[in-house]
């Protein structure tokens, strides 16, 4: 649906304001119900037995002693699931290991018991015989020909013969002639960068409550980013018809991509089926870190040539991403997005998807892009500074604009990269003085955004208030933004609309809350549903007035006669029309079902000041500013929150966070004491500058904002730390020991 250019939508009355969030009271008073908050009569406690080995063949599982323990009502292993369709085979194997355990923490068996104490005791009674196999957790090691191989026969036709079976796929993007471009450069920088695997760090662990009745109907209450996805995947794994499984999304305590897949849910349903009782499962923090979906760790080679004036003549990157134990790392997204902010004549990226003995990577905000941006933006920064050039000016000189052929292929429509760079250049942050041991870094970032299947139902109640039903969990303020767009379109106050998250039985298929899609796609459907309701209300008013419905228009929450022959009737408000709906044809509603396309790409520029302690190597963030294009900021406070949250997660990725595996392949830091995410006391207030370059693919111009904000911070912080430390940092996280070692090595 194209941008609505009429005068009416330009004079927004609700969109762009900052009303209170509709879920705020429940969340601050503890009334909101999250995944672990639901109970059911006769409920059992489900627990998972997990592999203590990084790679092992499962020779035998004997659960007889556990089954004999009083209070144990069901035991589930992979054998209970039987064959599953190909499209969910890896998901099944990740939820419950088959022949092999592929990583430390891989689920091997599950128990449902009358209490948590009984369940814990029963887990210890399950006997598992393992044949321990050699393992590999590092991406570069996994690619070597002699590396232990996780799967046979999974390599795609894109991989050259002779490579390790752990190399699953190769992809290549770009245009032009790299060698010819490099020959025109005054200087070429060629470096290898590495990033650690990080977790999304959502506060709420995975949790669900499953019931399965004897007639095959199931219900699932679950903390997820996509309850329709949960329904579809679980139905496929358990052999259910989708219509027989109703899934309700709980409130969600963060997801950031990590809750776009299932882990517990099929197991909980199988335990419920076998026991005939409701089963609740809640992960511990250790389980979340060991056995859900962190992001990929990476190893990236970058080679960029630049003239002394700052023009990039050629840009090449080879990206190696390990995505854990199953194919599907986000390397394609990294390879397509790596150079997307730039207008380049010669550009090429090569991506390698690699499996290792780690938990299967899940999405994490702009999956694959932050690591690629870190490598590319570090090299550009090094080149710019090497020539004594302003790094923002260099990015502006090379920046993509409307009409640029993107490095991944298409020609850009109107985009906002240069607007973010220009705003950064004008901002007082850019010229603020720096002190001793301090450095400033900048970086750009890009994300695609997308839409997908979306349904909205808007109902006008008999008293003229409005309810909106959407099918996406409210993970970033969707109830507020849908309420605002419905109120805007209907011309009624914000407090006259309430938005709810419907269960899977109440609406058609909805894509997962991912790809920064919800404000764009669900907003688009909400606007169309409101327009449908307005048309119906105009029709009802026309019936009452005895005039043609074409002679009625909707303005400021009321139907009004319009045109020279419409007659003179006082406006009928939404409340007046709703009050007589039973007399004019029945209840009034508007619906819209769509596969939303045309989401519109998004760009950001980040600027950060740091101070590095020369004695410890510790980095302190002093000041941080985000400049990002939001298309149209429906609720600016939420948009600012998305900008700030992405920046903070990126800071953690840059400075602290990393999955650390021992020589034994066991995760060494499976808890928030040892896996250190930044907290409020670590950071200054993150400043934000919202730019609004309307998306031509949305009636109000909305673009997704949820993911782009995590793309630049790794590089921005690395560039700042490199400036402060006086040495280029090429490995994340830049923990104090690494920074100190780099500084000492640079001093010789």
């Amino acid at each position: 649906m194209a941008l609505d250019d009429s005068k009416k939508v330009k004079n927004f009355k609700v969109v762009g304001t900052r009303p209170n969030r509709p879920d705020g009271i429940d969340k601050v008073t503890g009334r909101a119900r999250f995944g672990a908050d639901m109970v059911a009569p006769g409920m059992l406690t489900g627990r998972i037995l997990r592999s203590p080995h990084a790679h092992a063949r499962i020779l035998r599982i004997d659960a007889s002693k556990a089954e004999a323990l009083p209070g144990v009502k069901a035991v589930v292993t992979r054998a209970d699931f039987g064959d599953v369709p190909d499209h969910v085979a890896d998901v099944m194997d990740n939820c419950m290991a088959g022949d092999k355990a592929l990583y430390d923490g891989h689920a091997v068996a599950a128990i449902a018991a009358s209490s948590a104490a009984v369940a814990r005791k029963a887990l210890k009674l399950i006997e598992v015989d393992y044949e321990v196999l050699p393992h590999v957790t590092d991406v570069d090691e996994a690619m070597k020909p002699g590396a232990p191989v996780l799967h046979e026969g999974r390599q795609q036709e894109t991989v050259p013969s002779g490579m390790s079976g752990n190399v699953i796929a190769r992809s290549e993007f770009g245009h032009g002639d790299i060698e010819a471009g490099l020959a025109k450069a005054d200087r070429v920088v060629e470096r290898t960068y590495r990033t650690g695997a990080t977790h999304q760090g959502y506060i709420e662990p995975h949790a669900c409550l499953a019931t399965m009745s004897a007639d095959g109907q199931g219900d699932l209450w679950v903390c997820t980013q996509g309850h329709y996805m949960v329904r579809n995947v679980c139905a496929a794994i358990l052999g259910l018809e989708q219509g027989q499984l109703r899934v309700t999304a709980s409130e969600i305590g963060g997801g950031f991509g990590g809750k776009t897949v299932v882990f517990l849910e099929p197991v909980a349903l199988m335990l419920a089926k076998k026991s005939g009782r409701p089963v609740k499962m809640v992960m511990s923090r250790s389980e979340v870190l060991r056995a859900t979906g962190p992001t990929a760790s990476t190893s990236i080679d970058v080679k960029i040539g630049m003239t002394k004036e700052g023009r990039i003549t050629a840009a090449f990157a080879e990206l190696r991403y390990q995505g854990g134990a199953y194919p599907g790392s986000p390397v394609d997204m990294g390879a397509m997005s790596a150079f997307a902010p730039y207008d380049l004549e010669n550009v090429k990226t090569v991506g390698w998807d690699v499996v290792t003995n780690r938990p299967k990577a899940a999405a994490y905000r702009a999956p694959g892009a932050p690591m690629a941006a870190y490598a590319v933006e570090s090299a550009i920064d090094e080149l710019a500074k090497g020539f004594g050039l302003d790094p923002l000016a260099v990015r502006l000189m090379n920046g993509a604009d409307e009409g640029t052929k993107a490095s991944y292929g298409p020609t850009y429509p109107a985009i906002g990269l240069k607007a973010t760079l220009e705003a950064a250049h004008r901002h007082p942050h850019w010229t603020a003085p720096l002190g001793e041991n301090q450095g400033r870094g900048v970086a750009c970032g890009f994300w695609f955004n997308f839409g997908g299947d979306t349904c909205v139902s808007l109902n006008v109640t008999p008293d003229g208030t409005v309810t909106v039903s959407e099918g996406n969990p409210d993970i970033g303020g969707s109830r507020a933004s849908m309420t605002m767009m419905a109120a805007e379109e209907l011309g009624i106050p914000y407090d006259q609309v309430r938005t709810i998250i419907a269960d899977t039985g109440s609406l058609g298929q909805n894509e997962v809350t991912d790809g920064s899609r919800v404000t764009f796609a669900v907003g688009l459907a909400t606007i169309e549903a409101a327009r449908a309701a307005k048309r119906e209300m105009c029709r009802r008013a026309a019936m009452i007035w005895g005039i043609d419905e074409e002679a009625v228009e909707w303005e400021d929450g009321a139907a009004r006669p319009a045109g020279p022959n419409a007659g003179k009737f006082p406006p009928m408000t939404i409340k007046e029309i709703a009050a007589v709906a039973s007399n004019t044809g029945g209840p009034i509603a508007g619906h819209h079902e769509v596969t939303a396309e045309g989401a519109g790409v998004s760009f950001a520029t980040h600027m950060v000041d740091v101070e590095v302690d020369p004695e410890t190597g510790a980095t302190k963030i002093l000041r941080y500013t985000v400049f990002q294009d939001a298309g149209r900021a429906v609720h600016p406070s939420y948009v600012e929150g998305q900008f700030q949250g992405g920046a903070v997660q990126g800071i953690g990725w840059a400075l602290n966070e990393e999955y650390i595996y021992g020589e034994d392949g066991i995760l060494q830091n499976a808890g928030f004491l040892d896996y250190r995410i930044p907290v409020a006391s670590d950071l200054p207030m993150i400043d934000t500058v919202i730019l609004e370059i309307p998306n031509p693919g949305h009636p109000y111009g909305v673009r997704g904002v949820g993911e782009t904000s995590i793309v630049p911070p790794l590089a921005a912080v690395a560039n700042a730390v490199s400036a402060a430390a006086g040495v280029r940092m090429t490995r994340l996280p830049m923990s104090p020991p690494r920074v100190l070692a780099a500084m000492q090595a640079a001093k010789g």
Binding site: Q156, T158, A363, F448, G452, E597, A599
Partner: protein, 81 residues
Amino acid sequence: MVKVVLWGSLAESAEGQREVAVEAATLRDLLDGLGETFPGLRAELERGVSVSIDGRVYNDSWFTPIRPDSEVVLLKRLKGG
């Protein structure tokens, strides 16, 4: 005929061509035509692709119209978080 730009490694499955032409008025025609004309592309098409048409990215809408002069670029299937 619609000209379709393939990403680098995909060209290897289309007889080395970075740009191919197929008869297509819609996205569905395009995907069907690519698979029929270049069987080497079928594995990737079955794994799922996104398609940029005149700078806008489409994933699933079969009946999205394509003009003969549209810029059409095949992309890896977009994933988000």
